[in-house]
């Protein structure tokens, strides 16, 4: 870990609040995410001046203004690219990229896949509310097919992206999913994302109270959430449900996941898959990110967390190596190198 840590630094979440008034709509999921980030940052042991929070455009991207850290509010879609520049310029910084489904999956899709492929050591929080909020209610690349919005008054006719599928497909090494309102889980995940060296993408299922209220109500409502969500934890069996009696197994014949009931058809807890986020093979992780209710519970938690060399470190390591072996140490050496001649 390159980020300077210190046992002496003790922060509270309040230390990360800026003096700016938070201007998201009352009831917006972003408030809870802001709380979770401030909690996570206060617990990481990283000095405040080492944090840089970078965003694109959209409701979520106002985030840096509400943080008492270094912050940069970029332009639409480019947060991941700006973050790459910041991190490569100074790998000592803890770089947090704040983006949304429009910002990083539509206009900035190119940067998202390439930052994941390169494995730049940034923490990218993707606020997925399945709608364009700041422009007041147009469909986004994650809007469900048929969703009625201002630009799809008869329903969208295009299938959505699943961010996790895209990130893992782009060779992403860390992908996690949380829900805005679950501050405990979010804080835990953000902390792990920060500790992971490489591009950590966290999809936050976020509710837009104004333009897409209840987008995730089917999996978040109190009555059903335990039956419709599964929180994955390393080394633990994939069990869920109010009664903790449901689990996931691999249906080997069809090479897909299957929901089973423990105690039925001879299924015991031993038959249930055990989560391993560090498995390099993306096969099972891909199946987990693709689970959708009502066929499956929606997977939350850290789905994929695989160690791999980071881009920023590789860039600097290569420079160090070339510097060591080159006879050219300064500009004067370069200027006078190679074919030169004297005029007397």
């Amino acid at each position: 870990m390159s980020k300077e840590t210190s046992q002496e630094v003790v922060y509270t979440p309040k230390d990360f609040k800026s003096d700016q008034e938070v201007r998201w709509c009352p009831g917006c999921g972003d408030h809870a995410i802001l709380n979770s980030v401030q909690r996570a940052m206060s617990q990481l042991g990283i000095k405040k001046e080492k944090y840089a929070v970078i965003s694109g455009i959209g409701c979520s991207s106002r985030f840096p203004y509400y943080m008492a850290t270094y912050g940069f509010h970029g332009i639409h879609g480019r947060a991941a690219a700006i973050s790459t520049g910041v991190k490569v310029a100074n790998p000592e910084l803890s770089v947090w990229t704040i983006t949304g489904d429009g910002d990083s999956l539509a206009i900035g899709g190119n940067h998202l896949i390439h930052v994941a492929r390169r494995n730049v050591d940034i923490n990218l929080l993707l606020f997925n509310n399945r709608i364009y909020g700041l422009t007041k209610g147009q469909y986004s690349p994650t809007s469900v097919k048929g969703q009625i919005t201002k630009t799809s008054p008869y329903g969208t006719v295009e299938p959505p992206f699943n961010p996790g599928e895209l990130v893992i497909g782009a060779k992403g090494k860390f992908f996690a999913r949380t829900i805005d309102g679950n501050i405990k889980l979010s804080t835990e995940i953000f902390t792990e994302a920060a500790r992971h060296e490489g591009t950590s993408v966290v999809e936050v299922l976020q509710n837009c109270v104004i333009y897409n209220n209840g987008a995730y109500a089917d999996i978040t409502d109190r009555e059903h959430k335990e039956d419709r969500q599964i929180i994955l934890r390393d080394g633990e069996p994939m069990i869920f449900g109010k009664e903790r009696d449901k689990g996931l197994i691999l249906d080997r014949e069809h090479m897909k996941l299957k929901v089973v009931k423990i105690g039925e058809n001879g299924i015991t807890e031993k038959d249930i898959l055990v989560h391993n986020s560090t498995e390099n093979n993306p096969g099972l992780h891909m199946m987990l990110v693709n689970m959708r209710w009502p066929n499956y519970p929606v997977a939350l938690g850290i789905i994929r967390n695989v160690a791999a060399p980071t881009y920023d470190m590789a860039v600097h390591a290569q420079i160090g190596k070339v510097k060591e072996s080159s006879p050219i140490k300064k500009m004067d050496d370069l200027l006078t190198s190679g074919n030169t001649w004297e005029v007397k």
């Binding site: 970029g74 690219a81 030169t340």
Partner: protein, 614 residues
């Protein structure tokens, strides 16, 4: 190697090597130029090649040319017309016949002048006759067959054999101009270290050409061009792209900041990124971004993080970067954007030169979005203007666009190497740790540059971004009056750079009948025209601009002293329009050309002479 006749001394010579784009003409020309430079001639080169890697063989569209002008006196341009043309096939003759001096020497590979190739090039039967070149010194050399014969016992495949025929032509030229083969042989040895058979093949063919030229009767005269009388010092040959890259590295060393370059490959700018990628030994960070936008935005990120950041591109790439350039304007971060211009609009003429991005650079962004603009005017001074762009960016906290073009990028000239101690200091406006009450938009009262607080510095945490900023605190502000204030400040900050740049100089007559005005890469041609006109007794001055925004402080004084002003540029009148806007009190005549080619000196002189008559 005794010569039959005493060599004839010449002041300067223009040679144009031309052939199919796969014939190796760029290398041939480069090797000749390097030898000339190492022998102390002054040189200027002009590569002229098609956009396709391998355009259809034998067609005029696929002809690749390399022109070199070398001399005993100072050489300012690659030359209007050639004294010697090497044409490896009929298409090469077709493409270049109009660029010959009367009576020029033409060396053709007669083996390639087959009926089929003659027809492909658009001739009927006899290209020499059809071009009315019978009275020229045409050397019909069987280059291909003699190359094959020179290598027949080496067991090389036919492709490798044919690939070395350019060296036969080069060998002939070396004999004609009394040049040693040594520098080129040294090149083979270092380039093909691991392929001794290729070294041998190239050497054999080079010598075969040299001895062939010595033997044939048609070439009984040879020429010498003595070394140029140029300023004492250590010299090297350099092209504009390499000079640009080195200027940026030099600035980073002077400023004490690591250089970061986020870029996307684009013709004709790619050479800068390639050169910088080599310079990890000097700590240069290059990120080959996923697109043009990521090129500039990674650089903006690196600038926010405290490095000297630059991005390199050409016109179409600059169009893609324009929104992000506006972000650098409003966040007031130092950033160098290099625009190596090419023919447009759209993909246009990727490998050909033009100066038609001026309006895009000055105004091609949304909102009131001023940037500083400088333009290099020779391949070697790309070094100084890249350095200068970085200096202005860091000391005035603004993006600066450096404009070059395809002509400068690929053209070469000998360059007197400076020592780093000769270059000015660069003082970035980094806010020191412990500064009390830091505000992101608090300014230096003189320059209006804001302070640059670098992430990682305790106590200076702050937020900036693309939304309009409150005048001092940098907080988001929608206040109408504040927006006016900030707009005025951003404009005034760029304007005040005028106090930090030199006055406009006039070459030749300081007042009189005609003032030639140019900017950027046309300097060599304009300067040659001004000097020739001067010799002819005409009162002509030349005002050549390297600082475009802001313009130097004395422009009005300069323009006022001449009866007529002729603005010459490789576009349809963008700089003339810019001057009209800034100094509407004067009349401006224009000389404009958009053919993907530089001016010829003759065109400029004609334009001046026509003015006088008119």
């Amino acid at each position: 190697m005794t010569k039959k006749n005493k060599p004839i001394e010449l002041e300067d010579v223009v040679i144009r090597f031309s052939g199919d784009s796969g014939d190796g003409m760029q290398l041939t020309g480069t090797l000749f130029s390097n030898t000339a430079a190492l022998l102390g001639n002054d040189i200027a080169t002009f590569p002229d090649y098609p956009a396709e890697i391998r355009a259809p063989q034998g067609t005029v569209g696929g002809v690749s040319g390399f022109q070199v002008h070398f001399g005993h006196a100072r050489v300012k341009t690659p030359g209007d017309l050639a004294d010697v043309l090497v044409a490896m096939n009929p298409a090469a003759l077709k493409a270049n016949a109009r660029w010959l001096k009367p009576g020029a020497m033409i060396i053709i590979d007669v083996d390639n002048f087959t009926p089929k190739n003659i027809e492909k090039a658009g001739y009927n039967e006899d290209p020499i006759k059809e071009e009315k070149l019978e009275d020229y010194n045409v050397i019909q050399a069987p280059i291909t067959s003699l190359t094959k014969r020179a290598l027949e016992d080496m067991g090389l495949d036919m492709k490798s054999v044919l690939r070395s025929k350019n060296m036969f032509a080069l060998g002939m030229i070396y004999w004609v101009f009394n040049r040693p083969l040594k520098f080129t042989e040294d090149f083979f040895k270092s380039k093909f270290k691991k392929k001794p058979e290729i070294i041998e093949a190239n050497e054999r063919v080079l010598k075969a050409g040299y001895y062939y030229a010595e033997t044939i009767e048609a070439l009984h005269v040879t020429y010498v061009v003595k070394p140029a009388e140029i300023e004492k010092g250590t010299y090297r040959n350099i092209n504009g792209n390499t000079a640009t890259a080195w200027g940026l590295i030099a600035a980073s060393e002077k400023a004490g900041l690591q250089l970061f370059v986020g870029s996307y490959p684009i013709t004709p700018a790619t050479g800068i990124l390639e050169e910088l990628a080599l310079r990890k030994n000097l700590g240069v960070i290059t990120v080959q971004a996923e697109d043009e936008i990521a090129g500039i935005t990674t650089s903006i990120g690196a600038s926010f993080a405290g490095l000297l950041a630059a991005t390199t591109t050409s016109g179409p790439g600059l169009a893609l970067k324009s929104e992000a350039l506006g972000l650098a304007v409003i966040t007031e971060l130092p950033l160098v954007v290099v625009d190596v211009q090419r023919g447009g609009p759209s993909t246009g003429l990727p490998t050909k030169t033009e100066q038609s991005d001026l309006m895009q650079v000055l105004y091609g962004r949304n909102g009131e979005s001023p940037v500083a603009v400088v333009a290099a005017s020779t391949p070697a001074n790309c070094f100084y203007y890249a350095f200068e762009a970085a200096r202005l960016a860091l000391e005035h906290m603004t993006p600066v666009v450096l404009m070059t073009d395809g002509f400068l990028a690929n053209g070469t000239e000998p360059w007197k190497i400076p020592a780093m101690s000769d270059l000015p200091e660069i003082k970035p406006r980094i806010v020191p740790e412990g500064t009390e009450d830091y505000k992101p938009y608090k300014r230096d009262p003189e320059t209006l540059a804001r302070g640059w607080a670098i992430p990682g510095t305790p106590g200076l945490e702050h937020r900036i971004g693309g939304l309009e900023k409150d005048e001092i605190s940098g907080n988001v502000s929608y206040d109408p009056v504040n927006h006016q204030v900030m707009t005025n400040i951003r404009a005034e900050k760029v304007k005040r750079i005028v106090h930090d740049i030199p006055a406009l100089k006039v070459d030749g007559e300081q007042e009189g009948d005609v003032l030639l005005v140019g900017w950027g890469s046309t300097y060599g041609h304009l300067k040659s025209a001004q000097e020739e006109l001067d010799k002819e007794g005409k009162k002509v001055g030349l005002a050549h601009f390297n600082y475009i925004n802001p313009l130097p402080g004395n422009v009005e004084d300069v323009l006022r002293k001449f009866k007529k002003i002729l603005v010459c540029e490789l576009n349809m009148g963008q700089f003339a329009g810019y001057l009209r806007m800034n100094f509407p009190q004067f009349d401006y005549h224009q000389l404009n050309k958009v053919q993907g080619l530089p001016f010829t000196v003759a065109e400029i002189k004609d334009a001046v002479n026509n003015l006088k008559e008119g």
